[in-house]
Amino acid sequence: MLACLCTVLWHLPAVPALNRTGDPGPGPSIQKTYDLTRYLEHQLRSLAGTYLNYLGPPFNEPDFNPPRLSAEALPSATVDFNVWRSLNDHLRLAQNYQAYSHLLCYLRGLDRHAATAELRRSLAHFCTSLQGLLGSIAGVMAALGYPLPPQGAEPSWAPRPPHSDFLQKMDDFWLLKELQTWLWRSAKDFNRLKKKMQPSAAAVTLRLEAAASDL
């Protein structure tokens, strides 16, 4: 544990927020990223509402909760609480980054189905915003000195083998649902990070966090 604490302390100089006085550090960009996730949540709510209505019943029913069948490819935001707590900032940011990268690709595929111009415009704007989020996460990671996760093979939206329209809609439904979950999770992550990065309190939090994680 002591070693761990030492490691954290050793890493402290690497945290730009703590040793730079003139530079605002990653704090503002973290805040911005947090605000953006909240805005995307807000944006998605209206988009999802419109889109699910477009899909029609039962997808637009509030208590519709279908099994997740063919959406395995989607990165799941659901994670065990302890596992989530055990993640460090870097991992968390990396997971966010990867998830949104994939989701963005799937989202672009959604555009094909959208019938109305208004919906297409909303989707396009959401995509652009999501792209902005990706950039923000990358910015935060860069500010904190973390390397970006390897992009690997970009899961391009290959036209799937034609299956039933309902299943297609089910995929769309799960995509939106997954996006929503990820935005919740991200908001939580960035809020946590934001609090952590606040000056003076940040070090204490960091130490306690480290201790807690060691425990």
Binding site: T33, Y39, L134
Partner: protein, 921 residues
């Protein structure tokens, strides 16, 4: 400034005919490099004309034969450079100031000029660096950026709005055609910082603006809230609820608002404290509003955290607060018309409608309650603002309430005092003055507590009756302005009445103008008296309607026809002024101007001439001169009289007329004839020579009864008239005077006889007259011849005297005359008319006097009872010296007096002398 032009890209290919004989190919003989240049102004431009080798050899041409032309103007040869045999260049200093096209020509043999090639030069600028780039995000995703593109390039220039995130380049925004200063990005993402800049590009180069970096969330301007509605509450009349719909297209949830409102007529807005509206909401209740008032609302919103900009104000929406009971009692006043008999009088109650701000709703009716007098309580509900009541002379108390749908106002109470009430306790120091286009009234309150003040005012005019307007002021008021439509340059009579518990106090009045103006006309000045060196000018004050202000002073301008004008200032209270010193015998023009505070107005010009002499000056000269003349004349006349005998003797020596000698008649046979009555006319004209005899006879006749002889009555009449004629007081002969002269003439003749004739006659006469001795028988013919001469001399003298002014019939008249004179006081009963006739024939000199007398008589007749009575009166006056017919009597008395005083006998004599003087002629 350069003349700017863009030349269309167009190369001119002008061909030189290579082989005119063969009539074959048309082929360019050369070209210009560069072919379509774009040149910036104020730069040097060089063009090269390259000739074709074939042409050169065929036509034996050379590059030094090249001529450059711009339009039709040759370029000076100094600017040419022969590069080699086939090429020549030209250098132009400032192409923008020259023209286009630029042509390369060649001079053939025989001075024949041929065009080889031509180019168009375009002039334009490289783009300037765009400045003042700014962006604004409308709603959620649209971002409009604007910039200043700088000066016109005159070339095709493209502007591109570029943007990028830190991690990636974003799509360029290209403005629509013909827009070079703005572009709208439609997919902007908030909470991500971005760089934005503009790149401008044309053929002369490209340039980028400065980059701006921002988070679009900080430049968001939302659309304003919409569907703004305002609703009132019946329960609370001072509130209004404003509701609206928030804009949907926004990149955040939290909003804050500004709500502003104003009354409908006002122009200033009231802002609800922003801290009250700093959270997201869709309605707000505004408090502390006035009842029954229309308010207008509008709202704007922005990010609750203050990022970005306020939206525009929403569309205005209005609502009316609910009614409340009137907050004030109406202004209330009265007037009394006392002209009702039997202990009654007319009470005119009047009140003002409440202003909207005090009525707090629609006034439905007014309630008037009258207490006092015989009727214990009188109540009436009316819609009008006046009420006429017939009340007794007792004191009353009247109260007034205004009612609207919610309730009634507090009562406004007036005490109407009894008929015998004496008003007292006036206000003091009442002043009225205009200020800020209002007429202000100021006063000092009385010592007694005042309930309120009433101000009454009306136009003070000579032509219009005073129809007062009025207003009510509170008890604390000392200064207020008249709330009414006041006219300029009208005199207002303002009355302030304090109102006490027991009734109104004594009124005090003041006159004032809202705005004065010069008078409508000037005063009419005229002279009251013009003297030699001064003139008294008078004028009347202008009527109020012409004054247009308070007359502060007058100015009198006067001048002679040639001289300068002189001005005299006169106090406004005067209506008379004495101009002095003036020059005598001069025409003066005078006019007068009246001045108010705002200026003056001239009246009409009045001219007058000063006299040459002062008043009385002429008289002072003329009267003494006349007097002196008169005196001289009088002295002369007196002198003449004094020396009359001398003169007479000198002029007319006494020559006795023997033919008229009476010595023959004095025989004792003839005495009876002498006793005949004068009317017998026994004496032929000129025969009557002895007056002494006739005098004696008359004396004898006096003793006889009067009525015997009508002629004698006539004579009396004549004599009387003559007397009356003398009553005019003007000198001349009269009966009285003539009778005396006749005596005097006798005296004269006596004296004449005494001095120049025998004593015999005079002795006879005197003895006959004085001793009443009819001693005719005593007479005896004298044997002496000496007296004969004397007697012959005498009758002539007498005749002259007696004839008077009438040439014929002198003797009989003379007799009558004398009888009349003697009978003067005996026979007054003679007709007026006859007298007049007699007189007119008797003495023409008296004719004028007769006329006067007739006039007087006519007057007397008109007032009196008749001619006879008149005459009696006159005669009575004559006799007793007391007058009943005042005027005539007076005249008579004066005449008598004059006759006595002036010694008429003397004055008569010269007449006879004079008249007699004519007789011989």
């Amino acid at each position: 400034m350069l003349a700017l032009w863009t030349w269309i890209v167009q190369a001119l290919f002008i061909f030189l005919i290579v082989d005119s004989v063969g009539g074959g190919l048309l082929k360019p003989c050369g070209h210009i490099v560069p072919e379509s240049p774009v040149v910036a102004p104020n730069t040097t431009f060089t063009a090269i004309c390259v000739l074709d080798e074939e042409c050169l050899s065929e036509h034996h041409l050379n590059a030094n034969q090249i001529l450059w032309k711009i339009k039709d103007t040759y370029v000076p040869k100094e600017q040419y450079t022969i590069l080699n045999k086939t090429a020549a260049s030209v250098t132009l200093e400032d192409v923008s100031s020259l023209g286009s096209p630029l042509t390369c020509n060649i001079l053939l043999y025989g001075q024949l000029e041929q065009n080889i090639y031509g180019i168009q030069i375009r002039v334009g600028w490289a783009p300037e660096k765009p400045k003042n780039l700014s962006c604004i995000v409308n709603g959620q995703s649209n971002m409009k950026c604007q910039w200043d593109p700088g000066k016109e390039t005159h070339l095709d220039t493209t502007y591109v709005l570029k943007s990028e995130w830190p991690t990636r380049q974003l799509t360029d925004c290209i403005p629509p055609p013909n827009v070079n200063n703005s572009c709208t990005v439609d997919m902007v993402v908030v909470y991500v910082n971005m760089d934005v800049w503009v790149v401008a590009t044309n053929v002369l180069g490209n340039v980028s603006s400065d980059r701006i970096n921002f988070d679009p969330i900080d430049i968001v301007q939302l659309l304003p809230p919409y569907n703004v509605t305002v609703s009132s509450s019946k329960a609370i009349s001072s509130i209004l609820k404003v509701s609206w719909t928030n804009p949907v297209d926004k990149p955040f949830e939290g909003l804050k608002y500004n709500i502003r409102y104003r009354t409908k007529d006002a122009s200033d807005w009231t802002l609800i404290p922003p801290e009250d509206t700093a959270s997201t909401r869709d309605s707000f209740t505004v408090q502390y509003l006035k009842p029954f008032t229309e308010y207008v609302f509008s709202i704007r919103c922005m990010n609750r955290e203050g990022r970005g900009f306020w939206s525009n104000w929403s569309a205005e929406s209005s609502g009316v607060t609910y009614e409340a009971k009137p907050s004030n009692a109406p202004s209330f006043w009265y007037s009394i018309d006392p002209s009702q008999g039997h202990g009654y009088r007319l009470l005119h109650l009047k009140w003002k409608t409440l202003p909207r701000s005090e009525a707090n709703g629609r006034i439905l009716h007014y309630e008037v309650i009258l207490r006092g007098g015989k009727t214990s309580n009188f109540s009436k509900s009316i819609n009008d603002t006046k009420l006429i009541l017939n009340i007794t002379n007792d004191p009353y108390v009247v109260s007034l309430k205004a009612h609207n749908i919610v309730g009634s106002s507090d009562p406004s109470t007036l005490t109407i005092p009894g008929r015998d009430f004496k008003a007292a306790h006036p206000i003091t120091n009442l002043k009225a003055f205009p200020k800020d286009n209002e007429l202000w009234v100021q006063w000092t309150p009385p010592n007694e507590p005042v309930n309120k003040y009433i101000l009454e005012w009306c136009v003070f005019s000579d032509n219009l009756p005073c129809t007062p307007d009025w207003q009510q002021e509170g008890s604390a008021t000392k200064l207020t302005y008249l709330r009414g439509n006041l006219m300029e340059s009208k005199c207002y009579l303002i009355t302030v009445i304090p109102v006490y518990d027991d009734g109104p106090g004594s009124p005090r009045s003041v006159k004032a103008y809202l705005k004065q103006a010069p008078p409508s006309r000037g005063p009419f000045v005229r002279t009251k008296k013009v003297g030699k060196n001064e003139a008294v000018l008078v004028w009347e004050h202008l009527p109020v309607d012409d004054q247009n202000g308070f007359i502060r002073n007058y100015t009198i301008f006067y001048r002679t026809s040639s001289g300068n004008e002189t001005a005299v200032h006169v106090n406004s209270s005067h209506t008379e002024y004495t101009l002095s010193p003036l020059t005598s015998d001069t025409l003066y023009m005078v006019r007068m101007a009246a001045y108010t505070d705002e200026g003056g107005k001239d009246g009409p010009e009045f001219t007058f001439t000063t006299p040459k002499f002062a008043q009385g000056e002429i008289e002072a000269i003329v009267v003494p001169v006349c007097l002196a003349f008169l005196l001289t004349t009088l002295l002369g006349v007196l002198l003449c009289f004094n020396k009359l005998d001398l003169i007479k003797k000198h002029i007319w020596p006494n020559v006795p007329d023997p033919s008229k000698s009476h010595i023959a008649q004095w025989s004792p046979h003839t005495p009876t004839r002498h006793n005949l009555h004068p009317k017998d006319q026994m004496y032929p004209e000129g025969n009557f020579t002895d007056t002494d005899v006739s005098v004696v006879e008359i004396e004898a006749n006096e003793k006889k009864p009067l009525p015997e002889d009508l002629k004698s009555l006539d004579l009396f009449k004549k004599e009387k008239i003559t007397t009356e004629g003398h009553s005019s007081g003007i000198g001349g002969s009269s009966c009285m005077s003539s009778s005396r002269p006749s005596i005097s003439s006798n005296d004269e003749s006596e004296s004449g006889q005494n001095t120049s004739s025998t004593v015999q006659y005079s002795t006879v006469v005197h003895s006959g007259y004085r001793h009443q001795l009819p001693s005719v028988q005593v007479f005896s013919r004298s044997e002496s011849t000496q007296p004969l001469l004397d007697s012959e001399e005498r009758p002539e003298d007498l005749q002259i005297v007696e004839n008077g002014g009438s040439g014929d019939g002198a003797s009989p008249r003379q007799q009558y005359f004398k009888q009349n004179c003697n009978q003067d006081e005996i026979s007054p009963d003679l007709s007026h008319f006859e007298r007049s006739k007699q007189v007119s024939s008797a003495n023409e000199e008296d004719f004028v006097r007769l006329k006067q007398q007739q006039m007087s008589d006519q007057r007397s007749q008109s007032s009196g009872s008749g001619p006879m009575k008149d005459f009696e009166d006159v005669s009575a006056a004559d006799n007793f010296g007391s007058s009943t017919e005042g005027q005539i009597q007076r005249f008579e008395t004066i005449g008598l007096e004059a006759a006595t005083e002036e010694g008429m006998p003397k004055s008569y004599l010269p007449q006879t002398v004079r008249q007699g003087g004519y007789v011989p002629q």
